[in-house]
Symmetry: C2
Subunit: 156 residues, 2 copies
DNA sequence: GCGTATTGACTGCATCGGCAATGATTGCCA
DNA sequence: TGGCAATCATTGCCGATGCAGTCAATACGC
């Protein structure tokens, strides 16, 4: 199915533009909400990733956030300086550094999570539950499709 | 309606995370597709904005891309150096600089648009048309909701 | 066991975008 | 007319990110 055509293509109906704008809007709104709690949105995302057990090492974190490894190292540097995360050299494989949330880090993560939840519920106040569920399901599907395509292209 | 709850919140069902990953995926896939044509995805987006008449000045462009003005100035610098855009000081209001696509700029924009269309049609090959239409409509609605919320907060 | 490839963490370098400040120009209002 | 605010484009500065390269440690093939 060819969905897009030369005539029908435009910024307003391009999924790329829309995803970019939504991301920018969310980031711009969340950043000030987190300001007095401490972390940036990216830092919070990293702590959430650790908190949910999605990442226990630096390399995991880079994969889960789709981030560069160098940037992840520096990101963890700041998290460690803030006292939110600890680095521990693994004993079985001494290349890896295990990441753990400190009690303070957990507290900050939870606090920001609650603020994010409140923000989203405020934004979505006038939406139907089914609409939101549909959108989440479709965006998850799109994310999966994009990643599959990337693997096909990247590992040819 | 409170859609998100403490228990149900997680990266995989967070619209912010999903939008971020989709944006990253699209950008990462499009960048190499545009490589030999010349522009980066951001540069192409700017030219599309001019091409569609959504922006005729630097300030317009910054608004349409939700970009910083300083970054926009530098972005236009490179577009001008590439010979894709011309700057013309307006006569009626000598503060503004009018932006115009050169024939080369238009050609590059169209070429990359065709590549983007082909990319999306490849990605969405297995999707139903109705699914894509639903997702676009919902993402447009979300974008609108976010921008309304930002205006309410930002101009209190 | 040994050499090679792979993986993980880390570090310089360049780039990009956001923020703040500046200069020029215009509109507004007393 | 004169002053003041707002807008536009531009620049310096800074933080964040991607890329390439380095070093250490592990896994694999012989």
């Amino acid at each position: 199915m060819d969905f897009y055509t030369t005539a029908a293509f435009g910024p307003d109906c391009s999924l790329g533009f829309l995803a970019r704008r939504i991301h920018q809007g969310v980031q711009g709104a969340l950043e000030p909400l987190f300001a007095d709690a401490g972390p940036s949105v990216t830092q919070w995302s990293a702590m959430v990733s650790i908190w949910f057990g999605r990442a226990s090492t630096c390399a995991d974190l880079a994969r889960d956030l789709a981030h560069d490894r160098g940037a992840t190292t520096r990101l963890v540097d700041t998290l460690e300086q803030q006292g939110w995360v600890t680095r521990t050299r693994a004993t079985d494989d001494r290349r890896v550094v295990n990441l753990m949330l400190t009690p303070e880090g957990t507290a900050v993560t939870v606090e920001c999570r609650d603020r994010a939840i409140a923000y989203w519920n405020r934004v979505l106040a006038d939406w139907d539950r089914s609409e939101v569920e549909t959108m989440i399901a479709l965006m998850q599907k799109l994310r999966g499709t994009l990643e599959s395509a990337a693997i096909e292209d990247g590992e040819a």
